[in-house]
Symmetry: none
Subunit: 202 residues, 4 copies
DNA sequence: CATGAATGAGAATTCATTCAT
DNA sequence: AATGAATGAATTCTCATTCAT
């Protein structure tokens, strides 16, 4: 009963995607292994030929989520002023979200959940993203576009946080506000300019 | 056995606080009713003399959380420039967090969880807070301190979001960064000034 | 906190009647002690000042049922031919049923339930009734109205059984057929004449 | 594990039979799902692979009971005078009772319990039986063997009722009276001739 | 490999009963 | 006497996991 590696990978992918859908919709505890298997077109037992436990399945879903998102926006070339570059990065991230909503929802949930035990895996996803942001900010710093009194590391996290926050807001309002289209501009404006009035700030 | 209303309320409070601790630490699903009761010094069955079900208990914990936090910072008088006022508000919120960490954690979790079904109760908590923020921003708007191209409602949500985000960051890093002390200043700076360099922006 | 014996008896009566209503509607297991007490206007604990346990309460309800029904039709004077006398007895029983429907329902349930452990108490109720029937049948026997090839004891039980059966039928059809009015005549006809055609039988 | 359909049906049958034994002995409420499973040689959980709930299990037990009894006596050919035919039908029913005592006990309990919510399923069982009785009575009617002043439908129910009654009496007296052997003759005599003395009736 | 039957730990909930007030 | 808070045994049902086929 051997199957080729390709077939095996294909089955695993199908299981991961169905699992992602369930974890995204119901959370870890309320996700039912049987339904995941059935939803993917297999029987309950099959899942255990690919994952040792529910925990491992969840872990692999998160890893897969991190892998997919990173992969997608890493291909993009980003350049220009910090403002432009960040916006392009946000656009890339939003486009990933469109394609991989379930996976992204899980990542966001985990990233914002104070109790999450998946910090490490989340970092796998955040890592490359934050590095990109950091690089952009550092370049902006040299060009004098970015404030100098806060560490770049912290600013990077703040940027990612704001973006994530807008996603949550988007989902929670049923897509009303903000819409996916306006998120990149919004996050950049909020992040770089803030809510203050320019003239007064100086 | 017949106890006084005060005693009954005291028992209920004890149960709610223990429940809050558990929900904050383990989440809804992983919280065990039996352990909550035992932790509060009662037997399993007692909890059902006060709450009809685990769901109801959770609901009441959230309501209580909203009630407590609102109550605490509503007593504060807030004034001055938008920047000062917002900072004071954030300070008030942080001081609530110090006192009611479990309840706040639950609120934050629910507020940031895309799946949460407790949007209404969360709004009970956010409502008064957002109103306060809105009022401050409107006054700042008149004084020309706040940008005019974004609706105050959206800016208010953004402020709350950033604050919440910093809490999560605080918890997730085990209190390392940001510390509770620096949160008020940080959130105001990020929110009003943004990450951009002043001189360049103008 | 003493109350007079009359008061005590009155409370007990109220509890028994409410209990009868519940046992009749829900059966023993599904009857809730708390609801019985509440329904009677008392708190849960009060029941235990009058009955040692749910079992004892049920036992006393049955005894009370037997006592009440026996008492009611024992006062009636019954005479005439076997047919007339039996009909009058059935009428007396039906009139009891009208007044004490809950208690009667419980008795009937217990009488017809193969599992019932209350055979003795049921006999308390059946006893006097069966004796009456037996006496009537014996008198009828002497007058040649009743067949001689079956023991009177068995015929008596058969009569009671048929009557009981009609009650069940009455309740199960929601009072449609037979109605309480037609039961006495029906039971006597079925019991004495049977379904056979007279002319052919001889 | 993957077992054949036959094996699955066999397991289900075993569970149903054990359940019938328990329901017959203890009634619905006092029957313990765990003990049913264990008694059938399985673990608690297994029962839920075959029935969704205790209610469903009970319902299927009743259906199975109805199915089994109907099936058994429907194969019998019944003929002759009404008296003979009814006696043969009763004999058929008694022989079913011998084979399927638990199932029959449950049917009888449900049929005679004023509170039963299984009237429909009971009718499934009664239906075919009553039809048979009705047919016999109608034929007897044509031959002038049966009284004409009562609807056949009611007479049929009465016959079934008497038979059922004798079962209860049989069980309640521990098989003393009536014995299973004498039931067919007894029910027919009581039903057709009644308790009256022939000579006097005419 | 795929299957799904069997398992049993675990959890929520109910409720008769006790007993301090 | 009346109350109702506290208790904990008991019960139903769920579901991740194992494993024979």
């Amino acid at each position: 009963m051997k199957i080729s590696i390709e077939q095996r990978e294909a089955v695993k992918k199908r299981l991961l995607e169905e699992a992602a859908r369930h974890f995204a919709r119901f959370g870890f505890d309320a996700t039912n292994i049987n339904e995941v298997a059935t939803g993917a077109g297999y029987a309950k037992g099959t899942i255990y030929n690919y994952f040792r436990s529910k925990e491992e399945l969840f872990g692999e879903v998160i890893s897969e989520a991190a892998r997919r998102t990173v992969e997608r926006y890493q291909s993009r070339q980003i350049s220009g002023s910090a403002r432009t570059a960040l916006k392009e990065l946000a656009e890339a991230d939003v486009s990933v979200l469109r394609e991989e909503e379930s996976f992204m929802k899980i990542l966001v949930s985990e990233a914002l959940n104070p109790r999450s035990e998946n910090y490490d895996v989340i970092l796998t996803h955040l890592g490359p993203f934050i590095e990109k942001v950091s690089k952009i900010l550092e370049e902006g710093l040299e060009k004098g576009e970015i404030r100098t009194d806060k560490p770049v590391a912290q600013l990077s996290i703040a940027f990612l946080g704001m973006l994530t926050l807008l996603y949550v807001q988007h989902w929670k309002t049923g897509g009303i506000w903000p819409t996916l289209e306006e998120i990149p501009d919004l996050v950049v404006t909020l992040f770089i300019d803030g809510a203050g009035n320019e003239e007064v700030k100086s």
